[in-house]
């Protein structure tokens, strides 16, 4: 029987019992991740599967967490403890295009501040914010392993390196 959960305990997550549903292809993909690990170690697939949830649902939402907990036979709190540790999982809604600008040392000294300024003024938001139409979120992130081609940013999983303001314009314009 479902647990009784008041929704007034915290403003972090409004808990529901809704469980996300996925197409057979996506479930198949999830199973292919599971197949990499010994059967009794299915928890190993948690991080790869969280990425699938995030891709399919836009962020790691409550129904997605419920699905994973059922799928891997875990408690929702087990999913939560892992998901919140890693900076790439969004437990809050983000824009369709998540623009992540590297702010660590090499990028910093090679011009990150100017790039950030440019991106933000173009989109009219500050780092950490999402545009009103829900299209873009800008984040400053730590080193992405592109120091030799600094400054750089990552949009979704795509690397954009050796950035100049002109290049940024082109990239942003190409986003749908």
């Amino acid at each position: 029987m479902a647990a009784v959960r008041p929704t007034t305990y915290t403003d972090e997550v409004v808990y529901t019992d809704e469980v996300a549903e996925f197409s057979p292809e996506v479930v198949e993909e999830m199973r292919s991740h599971l197949a990499k690990y010994p059967p009794e170690r299915s928890r190993s697939a948690l991080i790869p599967l969280l990425f699938v949830i995030q891709r399919e649902r836009g962020w790691v939402d409550n129904p997605g967490v419920n699905f994973l907990a059922n799928f891997l036979n875990l408690e929702v709190t087990d999913v939560w403890e892992t998901a919140t540790f890693y900076s790439m999982f969004n437990l809050h809604k983000v824009g369709r295009h998540h623009i992540q600008i590297c702010k660590t040392l090499s990028c910093k000294i090679m011009g990150e501040p100017g790039i950030t300024e440019h991106v933000c003024s173009k989109l009219g938001i500050h780092p950490g914010e999402t545009t009103e139409d829900g299209k873009y979120t800008v984040s400053l992130v730590e080193c992405l392993g592109s120091c030799g081609t600094a400054p750089m940013m990552q949009i979704g999983f795509d690397y954009h390196e050796d950035l100049t303001t002109e290049k940024v314009d082109k990239i942003l314009d190409s986003l749908k």
Binding site: S44, I47, F85, Y86, L105, E142, C143, G145, C147
Partner: protein, 435 residues
């Protein structure tokens, strides 16, 4: 960006500029999987001896002798054993593994199979940092090719040895580069480091014997098998064998990935000539972090005219460390207080939060830096920062705490002026912080 070998034949970088170097076909045409065949005819003990002879030290940063690590794996354990490749590459300043993973995936696969055969492991995992997601597809394709060619899976090359390798992804956590945190993460948990002992070689993934090595470490293995241990070692020095990849970034004309023989002389020549010298000709060299953000920062005086050799011993002698070989070069426009603050923010963000000194110390330091940058520095702040570093160093659960302390300690010692001008009430009003 440059990718090239200097002072030696390209070994690690052999296929970087060959078209389709990432495919099995080209890999084989350029000598690939010959070492595997050779290794499978050797006894595991002979392989370990060969690796020991090569004096290969782990390329992930800690520099632990690889042959010795392999010999710690218990031979008679009834548990399954695992080989894990650390492709988490998150150290600021380091980006060499990325190119190996992208352009020479089979070299890693070959190295891992040889390790698996040597240690009796039938499963391998490659743990990618989450941001390198796009590289996983490259590797998955290479793994499929290898499987189809009978190089992976059941009964490899008809020798009766079976092994499989899978890719696995992290999700944004520098600490998961630390090998025990990596294993926690690979098991689906928070990326907290684990207590050592027991070491992974005895109790690692799923509490089974596990060897964790860096990408570059594994890709060195086929070369060592092919050339023989001592021949490979002799490319470098007695204690630091072979060649090493360096990631160069910052204020140089030709940043990139360079392969140098160990013991390359000297650091000044490398920066000033091989890497094209300072980005802006009129700006002088001010500081270099030679081995990734977690090592001591050096001032120009420690480098110029000092004949610093690029190997483990040479850099220690010069007052820093080799680390991952992620060299960050800074010219005189840089304010070291600010760059140190930048790194402190990194360590605060990446502290896993397990132990007190690292969790609270990094937060405290960042708060002090931010206050200083806001123009509210106090003369005692430098001393306070040094003392906080002292209270973290050597007392944290894992080496990340030390890594957070060292840049700050060395920056204050090597660049006292950059700090004092912020802390000196008379001048700090006139400086605008770039934050």
């Amino acid at each position: 960006m440059e990718i090239k070998a200097i002072g030696c034949e390209p070994l690690q970088l052999k296929r970087m500029h060959i078209e389709n170097g990432h495919t099995l076909k080209v890999y084989r045409e350029t000598g690939g999987y010959v070492s595997l065949k050779k290794a499978l005819e050797m006894s595991p003990d002979d392989i370990i001896q060969t690796v020991k002879d090569s004096s290969l030290r782990g390329r992930g940063g800690a520099g632990f002798p690889t042959g010795m690590k392999w010999s710690f794996v218990p031979k008679d354990s009834p548990k399954s054993k695992y080989v894990v490749c650390n492709a988490d590459e998150s150290e600021p300043g380091s980006f060499k593994d990325r190119y190996l993973l992208e352009r020479d995936p089979h070299a890693l696969i070959e190295g891992m199979i040889i390790a698996g055969y040597t240690l009796g492991a039938s499963t391998g995992y490659i743990y990618y940092r989450g941001e390198y997601n796009y590289l996983i597809a490259v590797m998955d394709r290479a793994l499929t090719e290898a499987r189809e060619a009978g190089l992976l899976g059941e009964n490899i090359l008809g020798t009766g040895f079976s092994m499989n390798i899978h890719t696995h992804t992290g999700a944004g956590a520098y600490i998961c580069g630390e090998e025990t945190a990596l294993l926690s993460s690979l098991e689906g948990f928070r990326g907290h480091p684990r207590m050592k002992p027991p070491f992974p070689a005895v109790e690692g993934l799923y509490a089974s014997p596990t060897v964790v090595n860096n990408v570059e470490t594994f890709t060195s293995v086929p070369q060592i098998i092919e050339m023989g241990g001592t021949a490979w070692r002799d490319l470098g020095t007695e204690k630091s064998g072979g060649t090493k990849l360096w990631s160069i970034s910052g204020h140089v004309k030709k940043p990139g990935v360079y392969e140098l023989p160990m013991g390359y002389t000297d650091m000044e020549k490398f920066i000033m000539e091989d890497c094209g010298g300072m980005l802006r000709d009129d700006k002088k060299l001010k500081a270099v972090i030679p081995g990734g953000s977690s090592v001591y920062i050096m001032n120009a005086g420690q480098i110029l005219g000092k004949g610093v050799t690029l190997d483990y011993e040479g850099l220690v002698e010069a007052g820093s460390m080799l680390g991952t070989g992620g060299m960050m070069v800074m010219d005189e426009t840089v304010d070291v207080m600010e760059t140190t603050m930048n790194l402190s923010e990194f360590y605060k963000h990446e502290s896993c939060g397990w132990c007190t000194p690292c969790r609270e110390g990094t937060d405290w330091m960042v708060k002090i830096f931010h206050r200083i940058a806001a123009g509210n520095g106090k003369p005692g702040d430098a001393q306070l920062l040094l003392d906080i570093c002292d209270n973290i160093e050597g007392k944290s659960f894992c080496p990340l705490g030390d890594a957070a302390a060292w840049p700050v300690q060395s920056a204050i010692r090597q660049f006292p002026d950059d700090f004092m001008k912020w802390l000196d009430k008379k001048t700090n009003g006139s400086i605008t912080a770039n934050v």
